[in-house]
């Protein structure tokens, strides 16, 4: 048996392989469910129901999917250029901090203005944080994986410090309750982001913003000079330099763009869902890391990010809904892991093919004289 690189990738592979991968993931999940004493079909039905069908389920799924769409998009933007920004998590916190600060500062101003201010502040916060690993990478060739990852902890602890360990502007210090259970100040009503309802499906502004950003990023990468440069540098940085591209500037721009998108995701958490700076909730959710999974499953294609975010968001949401004595939440985690595993494994079949041969394997020398 040999594995060899495909010379041509037939178009149907791009459809068949992901579907097969997901089917395989469900098959293995079924085996695990069965082994743990949960009837597989019934469990899948319950899962699917809790994620997408039951009244309000889809709206809840959208709530879970929104931050994942932002962080997934942030990861995809950077990974396309082989810039491994693992800092989506921290950049989302940063956006949540700056977004909430602006919301409190602008209290009393007209609502659209406050919301716009929050979006801009979130983007700036995320971009500024991402600029740190970007500058280190561009000018000192520091590994951005390590630096961006480490900053996640720094910002995470800063976030907790703001609310739990200091008397910061963002901390609620109004009453007795607040001094016993520290929490962030409630944001003014003007800072609540609108949502639209279609039948029973609630679409928050953040989700629509994520879709808009996904389209924008797609256009940017597929149709513009900037995107062309990013793709060339991502493919071969030397070829980029050879062609006279400013590779350092591109590193800075792409990292900041990635950070800005994650940061808007943070602001959306403030404005759409939490209405206060909520360190514990944000840190528990680990949107940034799940976003990397979303980007990987979407094969860094911005348009695929939103559907994938909905799928993973749905699973997460179903996990919350079903979790209980008879259905441990861990099982949903197992399924998520299996989907990722099978999808990435399936990639192998898109790029390579397996050939079965009998007899001795013929080898062609590849060494030059």
């Amino acid at each position: 048996m040999r594995i060899e690189r495909r010379l041509q990738q037939p178009w149907w592979l791009a459809v068949v392989v992901p579907l097969t991968s997901i089917a395989a993931a469900f098959l293995i999940s079924a085996a695990i469910l069965w082994l743990t004493g949960h009837p597989p079909l019934h469990s899948f039905h319950r899962l699917f129901d809790a994620a997408f069908i039951a009244p309000g389920a889809l709206s809840e799924t959208v709530v879970s999917a929104t931050p994942l769409a932002f962080t997934g998009l942030a990861a995809a933007v950077a990974f396309r250029m082989n810039l491994f920004n693992i800092g989506g998590e921290g950049q989302l916190y940063a956006g949540a901090i700056t977004g909430a600060t602006i919301a409190l500062l602008m209290a009393g101003a007209p609502s659209p203005l406050v919301i716009a201010g929050m979006i801009v502040a979130g983007a700036v916060g995320g971009a500024l944080l991402a600029a740190i690993p970007a500058v280190l990478r561009a000018f000192l060739s520091t590994n951005e994986i390590i630096t961006s990852l480490m900053l996640n902890y720094v910002v995470g602890l800063f976030l907790e410090y703001l609310i739990f360990s200091s008397h910061s502007y963002l901390r609620d210090s109004s009453g007795f309750q607040a001094s016993v259970f520290p929490q962030g100040k409630m944001l003014p009503d003007e800072a609540t982001w609108p949502s639209w309802t279609i039948h029973s499906l609630v679409l928050p502004l953040g989700f629509l913003l994520a879709i808009g950003l996904a389209i924008l990023v797609w256009v940017l990468y597929a149709r513009t000079r900037f995107g062309f440069e990013v793709r060339v540098i991502g493919d071969s940085a030397r070829a980029g330099r050879y062609s006279g591209m400013r590779t350092r500037r591109k590193i800075l721009a792409v990292m900041c763009l990635s950070g800005a998108i994650a940061g808007i995701g943070g602001a959306s958490q403030d404005g759409d869902f939490r209405h206060q700076l909520d360190p514990r909730g944000l840190r528990q959710a680990s949107y940034g890391y799940t976003g990397i999974v979303v980007a990987a499953l979407a094969r860094y294609n911005p348009l695929a990010v939103v559907p994938i975010a909905l799928l993973l968001g749905g699973l997460q949401n179903a996990g919350f809904a079903l979790q209980g004595a008879d259905f441990p939440n861990g099982l949903v985690g197992v399924m998520q892991g299996l989907i990722l595993f099978c999808a990435l494994g399936g990639e192998l079949f898109v790029r390579y093919r397996v050939r079965f041969e009998r007899g001795p394997v013929k080898t062609t020398p590849v060494t030059a004289p």
Partner: protein, 507 residues
């Protein structure tokens, strides 16, 4: 007494080339025997056969008169053959002593626990005996390149190799280190070991070897005693006499103004040591100037410096009278410098991107390829279709990724793109390396065409035939500097070979 090692009629074929064609070679015990030849002459293939890495298609290997057959490098090591490669095979976090016992299966290295003290003592003994000064407890990463080479030799001596092959050992050494190495080589030979010294530097061969075998195009041309040979005669053997001289086509245009001027250019290599040293050179419109030289004498670094991919540490590059910013490829492109890089896939093109995208790699910034921030893919596709047609590129279409193309077709893409920018200067680094004969013809035709339309062409090549066929003027690079410059008409192969090998002109 039979020779320590004898190769008889060794032939090794690769898909596109016969690397060794009935090579005969022998060396006696206690002899230092040099293998001399240009790049691609078959020296490395021959040593790979002797060390069991390749198996010959024909011919036999005899050790002390007994035929042997090596199925793997392990067999060769067991037979007492060791090689010191140009690129060291050392584990950098390990100590010298640890590296020395690394491949040892029998002796001290076999013990479950390392007997550090005993090993270090053995290493110290060997290093004093052969003058290989290195601290057995030092870690490899702390050592200079010269010291690392000594560790490689110690490894061979520790295995008690009777036959040592040194592959261009002085390429990485300072002159002082090289002298010390020659002392070691003589000490090893005095001990009855056979040293096979691979080189293309004539004075070294004269200095250290007893006899020399010259390889050319995969054949063993001659074996001579170094006492009798002169650098001139060796150079002639190395590059061959059958090459005709000055075959440049007749209809060359009148040579115009200076379009590329280098003045005292210095640059560092990848390891941060000086690689280009005070190079001054002029190329005129319509002229092909070739830089000859054995690989690794600074040609790659020089070409990268001219096109801005490597900063110059000193000196200036001027194109059409305008100074090009050092280390800024875009400035060079704007000044009209086209560049055919040595590394086609990876530098010359972005491998996974389409032919069409690669064709606009340098023109995408301007109209009509782009409008505002947007690229016009329709135009790019049309342009690609036309280029594929005009340059006869064998590809399935403009969307085919570049890495799927053969070397010749890839080079056509690169050339087509570089010419489309209407350059003033074309820098071509080894533009035909690895190509088949017909692609080589095509590339040569394009270079001539470029010159005839008034482009100043700077060709860097290791192939003297190519240089003599194309160039108007020839400069020879040796150890980072220009060793000499000749008009193509008056240059002789012997003279060029001598300059390439670092021989003095008075010899």
């Amino acid at each position: 007494m039979p020779p320590a090692v004898a190769l008889r009629g060794i032939t090794k074929r690769f898909p596109a080339v016969v690397a060794n064609d009935h090579v005969d070679f022998e060396a006696a015990e206690g002899e230092v025997h040099a293998l001399l030849g240009e790049n691609g002459a078959g020296k490395t293939t021959l040593s790979n056969i002797l060390t069991g890495l390749y198996r010959p298609d024909e011919g036999e290997i005899l050790l002390l008169g007994r035929p042997v057959e090596f199925h793997s490098p392990r067999d060769a090591i067991a037979a007492g053959i060791a090689m010191v490669h140009q690129h060291f095979r050392l584990v950098s976090p390990f100590t010298v002593a640890e590296n020395v016992v690394l491949g040892d299966q029998q002796d001290l290295g076999r013990a479950f626990l390392l007997r550090t003290r005993a090993i270090e003592q053995r290493v110290a003994e060997l290093s004093t005996r052969y003058g290989l000064a290195v601290d057995p407890r030092a870690r490899i990463w702390q050592l200079s390149v010269g010291e690392q080479q000594r560790v490689e030799i110690l490894k061979a001596l520790y295995q008690d190799a009777r036959i040592l092959i040194l592959d261009e050992p002085t390429a990485v050494l300072t002159p002082q280190e090289a002298d010390a190495l020659f002392e070691t080589i003589r000490a090893m030979a005095a001990d009855g070991r056979t040293v096979i010294f691979i080189s293309h530097k004539l004075h070294e061969v004269k200095a250290v070897a007893d006899r020399v075998t010259v390889l050319r195009r995969g054949r063993s041309i001659a074996t001579a005693s170094t006492a009798e040979a002169t650098p001139r005669s060796l150079a002639a053997l190395m590059v061959g006499r059958e090459v005709e001289i000055g075959r440049r086509h007749e209809d060359r245009p009148a040579v115009g103004d200076v379009v590329l001027a280098l003045d005292g250019v210095c640059a560092d290599g990848d390891r941060g040591v000086p690689a280009v040293n005070e190079v001054s050179l002029e190329v005129r419109r319509g002229e092909i100037v070739a830089i000859a030289g054995v690989a690794g004498n600074g040609q790659r670094e020089l070409s990268e410096t001219i096109v801005g991919m490597r900063p110059a540490t000193r000196g200036t590059v001027e194109v059409g009278g305008r100074r090009v910013r050092s280390g800024d490829p875009r400035s060079a492109i704007r000044a009209g410098v086209a560049y055919v890089p040595e590394d086609r896939l990876g530098t010359g093109v972005a491998p996974t991107m389409s032919i069409a995208s690669n064709l606009v790699l340098k023109s995408y910034r301007r109209a009509p390829i782009s409008r505002g921030p947007f690229l016009r893919f329709g135009r790019i596709r049309d342009l690609a279709l036309r280029a594929i047609d005009k340059y006869d590129v064998r590809a399935s279409g403009p969307d085919e990724p570049a890495w799927q193309l053969s070397g010749g077709n890839l080079q056509k893409i690169v050339l087509s793109r570089e010419f489309s920018g209407e350059p003033a200067v074309l820098v071509a680094a080894s533009p035909t390396r690895g190509l088949d004969v017909s692609s080589i013809e095509t590339v040569h035709a394009y270079l001539r065409e470029a010159a005839s339309t008034g482009v100043g062409v700077l060709l860097l090549s290791e192939d003297l035939d190519e240089i003599l066929a194309l160039a108007d003027r020839i400069a020879v690079m040796y150890e980072g500097g220009i060793a000499g410059e000749r008009e193509a008409g008056s240059a002789t192969v012997e003279e060029l070979g001598l300059l390439m090998a670092g021989g003095q002109e008075e010899d």
